[in-house]
């Protein structure tokens, strides 16, 4: 049986972080971009819990994760409202099509 330790969690979190960053950079759909941001936040959450579990430094990390999950929800709510506003004005949620502010 494979013994799962801190390194495994950290590897997963790095992979999730890179996946999130890749999603943000390549998606043109605004909701896709927001999902990438959620992946980045969750990669950090994995880290906090792993460090809290294996580092023996109390529950600080887990508390941080609870707050981060709550904030991610708040951010998603505001994000979707803004995307809805974009759809009303531009009739698309393609982030490249809405790039009109230039100078």
């Amino acid at each position: 049986m494979l013994d799962i330790g801190l390194h495994h969690f950290l590897t997963v979190s790095v992979l999730v972080f890179i996946a999130g960053l890749f999603t943000v950079l390549t998606r043109r759909n605004a909701i896709g971009v927001l999902m990438g941001v959620e992946l980045i936040l969750n990669s950090a959450n994995i880290n906090y819990i792993a460090f809290s579990r294996f580092g023996g430094s109390g529950y600080d990390g887990q508390i941080f994760t609870i707050f981060a999950i709550m904030l991610a929800a708040a951010e998603a709510a505001i994000g979707l409202a803004i995307v809805l506003g974009i759809y009303r004005k531009f009739e698309t949620i393609d982030v490249e099509a809405t790039d009109t502010l230039r100078g």
Partner: protein
């Protein structure tokens, strides 16, 4: 002193009062028909909070709420600055035609909520509190930036702010998770102690710091995290742009100073600090500072369209100047930086206020709407704008000169001559685009289609106060400088 929960409550009147007021204003919105009254209430709330902070200035320094928040002169000074920005922003909003056209109900409550977040940013003492307050400010700012729902540009600005902000704060929380893992604690002082005892693992710490800097650098609009600023300032309502340029930038500087000076550095005696953890973040920030001011100024040179966009680039450049006080790692630098941010508050809010007064009368905010401003009824705002712009450039006898003088003095004292040279060269470059606005206002004659600019007493009072502040602090800056000097003391432990 390290206070328990109940004792802490008695020392956090300003933030508690703001928090209750946010809820109260949301509820009052349901019963009050005249929405301007809510703005007056918000103004009163901020004024009371300012008095509360002033009253706390004489109390003992210490840690509150299980060491997640601190009470020290540094934090209180920045709370004052943030509250004053909020006060000016609310005052501006009450006199803004753009805001008057909107459904104002929640605007005031969200503005107060944003102020509350900034007040917490100034006093956070651990990573969790820092992240929460920063994110609180971000979320409210996204809403404020896109508040004019009928406006395409505002909606777009809001989306861009959301995406850049989401990624930046995501990178920051990920970087913080590594700092937590390496140091085993979320609290700034405990991180410092842990890094002092085991200084290895420099590479992961370096990566973690760069990622954390992404979130903080985003808020202060430092290169290369500045991309959002021009678009957001251009799209957002003018008072909101002023608030983002001054309030949120100042608060982020406060959090950044506290994080780097109490967690990533330790006092080395003689007013100097030294870095801990074997990571040379000072050189990194030095490069960021030089690039930020150079980029901001060069990009501003090309701006002949929107004045708000020009002020955004100028704001980026000023973040670079202020960072000069950061990288010298001494009390001198901190003091110069605090003083500079105060002066920046006066002159930048002032510049946005003049843009708003022109926009109120003409409905436009491009450079062409300033043509011959002095000759079509707007002589007072034109003169005030000239004072603000020359002060932003750093010309004597205005406050901006004194601010820059102390920054350069601190940099030269640490023998960072190249950085000082870059700073001076940048100030010269900035004169070109600031003087261009002055030339358009005074030397160009109006072509007839611009419309008359009227000065009403409401905006006139604020304009007068900011102008007097900018001029007086250029001649008689001693008391404020002493106050800034006292406020460099960070509570450590």
């Amino acid at each position: 002193m390290d206070l328990g929960n109940f004792a802490s409550l008695s020392h956090s009147f300003p933030t508690l009062f703001l928090a209750f007021s946010v809820v109260a204003v949301f509820l009052l919105d349901l019963v009050i028909e005249k929405k301007e009254w809510l703005g007056d209430i918000a103004l009163l709330v901020v004024a009371i909070a300012i008095l509360g902070v002033v009253r706390l200035l004489s109390s003992e320094t210490g840690a509150l709420f299980h060491r997640s928040v601190v009470l020290d002169e540094f934090g209180l000074y920045f709370q004052l600055l943030v509250l004053l920005s909020a006060f000016a922003t609310i005052w501006m909003s009450l006199g803004s035609r753009e805001i008057r056209r909107l459904n104002q109900g929640e605007y005031w409550a969200i503005l107060l909520a944003s102020t509350l977040g900034m007040a917490f940013m100034a006093t956070s003492n651990n990573l969790l509190m820092g992240y929460l307050s920063l994110e609180f400010v971000s979320l409210t700012s996204y809403v404020l930036a896109g508040y004019s729902l009928h406006n395409r540009r505002a909606t777009e600005a809001s989306l861009k702010y959301l995406i850049y902000g989401g990624v930046a704060s995501g990178a920051m929380i990920y970087g913080m998770s590594w700092i937590y893992g390496l140091a085993g604690s979320l609290e700034f002082h405990a991180i410092q102690q842990a890094l002092l005892t085991n200084g290895e693992a420099a590479l992961p710490l370096y990566v973690a710091l760069v990622l954390t800097l992404a979130g903080l650098g985003f808020k202060i609009s430092a290169f290369p995290f500045h991309m959002w600023a021009p678009d957001v300032y251009q799209g957002a309502p003018i008072p909101v742009a002023a608030f983002l340029a001054v309030g949120s930038k100042t608060a982020a500087f406060a959090l950044m100073i506290r994080f780097f000076f109490t967690a990533m550095a330790a006092p080395a005696g003689g007013g100097a600090y030294e870095m801990v953890g074997g990571v040379d973040w000072r050189t990194l920030l030095l490069v960021v500072s030089a690039l930020t001011m150079t980029y901001g100024n060069l990009a501003a040179l090309n701006q002949t369209g929107s004045v708000k966009r020009l002020l955004a680039y100028s704001g980026i450049a000023h973040a670079g100047y202020a960072l000069m006080g950061f990288v010298v790692l001494t009390d001198d630098g901190l003091r110069a930086m605090i003083f500079y941010l105060t002066v920046y508050y006066l002159m930048n809010i002032g510049a946005f206020l003049v843009v708003m007064m022109v926009a109120n009368s003409t409905g436009r905010e491009d450079l062409a709407s300033f043509r011959g401003l002095a000759w079509r009824g707007g002589a007072v705002p034109a003169v005030a704008m000239a004072i603000f712009l020359f002060s932003l450039t750093g010309l004597p006898p205005f406050a901006g000169f004194i601010g820059k003088f102390y920054l350069f003095a601190a940099v030269v004292k640490q023998e960072l001559y190249l950085l000082a040279l870059i700073g001076v060269a940048n100030s010269v470059v900035s004169l070109f685009y600031y003087a261009r606005i002055v030339r358009v206002m005074f030397l160009d004659q109006p072509e007839g289609g611009e419309g008359v600019v009227e000065v009403d007493w409401h905006n006139g009072v604020l304009l007068g106060l900011l102008t007097i502040g900018t001029v007086v602090l250029g001649i008689f800056w001693g008391p404020l400088f002493d106050f800034a000097d006292r406020s460099t003391r960070l509570f450590i432990g």
